[in-house]
Symmetry: C2
């Protein structure tokens, strides 16, 4: 998606050698008009599927998920909540997710009331790196018996394991921009 | 707002005597069509103000903020990030917020890049109880020199201190539904 790529090159900045920050438009400040175009791009790729639910994970996926859901008919959002407790709660599907950024595990959970075998799910998230969050959301959908129709990512870090893991599990990933790497503090896009 | 009130009475449920859960449409699963009508209701109340930025706090305020921002011209969202560190970071405005639900303090922070004296802010949040989060966001706006044009709340717990504190600080609150209390496990709306 050209406009997104331009935004990343213009407004993204690289810290700590290999961390890309795009918080001026994606995950701290939110450029709502750009989100609308991002949602159009996902709709274009997935409007042939009977999607009725967008699943994401708090916090920065939520804004994106809501705008994507607006494009589909009768489509709700459910966002995965993050907790630290590993107590099994009978009201929730739970999955363990490792955060490489924070170097700790947390529990992702979705209420059993809001995910079921009738659901056709598009999973969306702002970033894909090692795929931990997405694999966790796929696991939650499996537990619920829901069908994962696709996975939509805004910015993929192509040099990390996420895509490989997800494809190996049998799912297709659509990313709107893929970062190949960094060179002298600059982002190199695919 | 009648449709919201009906939703609260039909789908809301009371746990632990005085905690209202509305997670089927507001803060776990999100009813995007209802959010659109909620955003219309806020726009109706605030379209006479030169609002160019919606400020909220992660996580459940974000979806709401994005849909509200869509109603205004050239309006971005900035969401307050929650952290536990009290280290002063020169790149962020920070404020201490007490969570009564979790009985702990956390740090709310907004990057100095995304809030400035040019900003005319509508603060939105899903719930108002004791007003800790809203007072924190007002503080962040003050630090940035931004103008707070109003505060839009979806569900206000009218029997708690939030409104009183905010009005005493000189701001006006617009709530779309006000919970007066609970009776035999049922919600009583104003």
């Amino acid at each position: 998606m050209e406009e997104l790529k331009r935004k990343i090159l213009e407004d993204g900045y690289v810290i700590n050698e290999n961390v890309l920050r795009v918080d001026s438009f994606l995950n701290h400040q939110i450029d709502v008009e750009l989100f609308n175009k991002i949602a159009d791009a996902f709709y274009e790729r997935y409007n042939n599927k009977p999607i009725n639910k967008i699943v994401t994970i708090e916090a920065s996926g939520i804004g994106l998920a809501v705008v994507v859901a607006q494009k589909f008919n009768n489509c709700h959002v459910v966002f995965t909540k993050k907790g630290s407790s590993s107590i099994t709660d009978n009201d929730f599907y739970t999955t363990e997710i490792h955060s490489y950024t924070k170097n700790k595990d947390y529990i992702g959970q979705i209420s059993k009331k809001y995910l079921s075998p009738e659901d056709h799910v598009l999973i969306v998230d702002d970033f894909l790196a090692n795929g931990e969050a997405v694999m966790g959301m796929i696991d939650l959908c499996h537990q619920a018996g829901a069908t994962v129709e696709g996975i939509g990512i805004v910015v993929e870090k192509g040099f990390q394991q996420g895509r490989h893991r997800i494809e190996e599990a049998g799912y297709e990933v659509q990313s709107l921009a893929i970062v190949k790497g960094f060179e002298d503090g600059k982002v190199i896009l695919d």
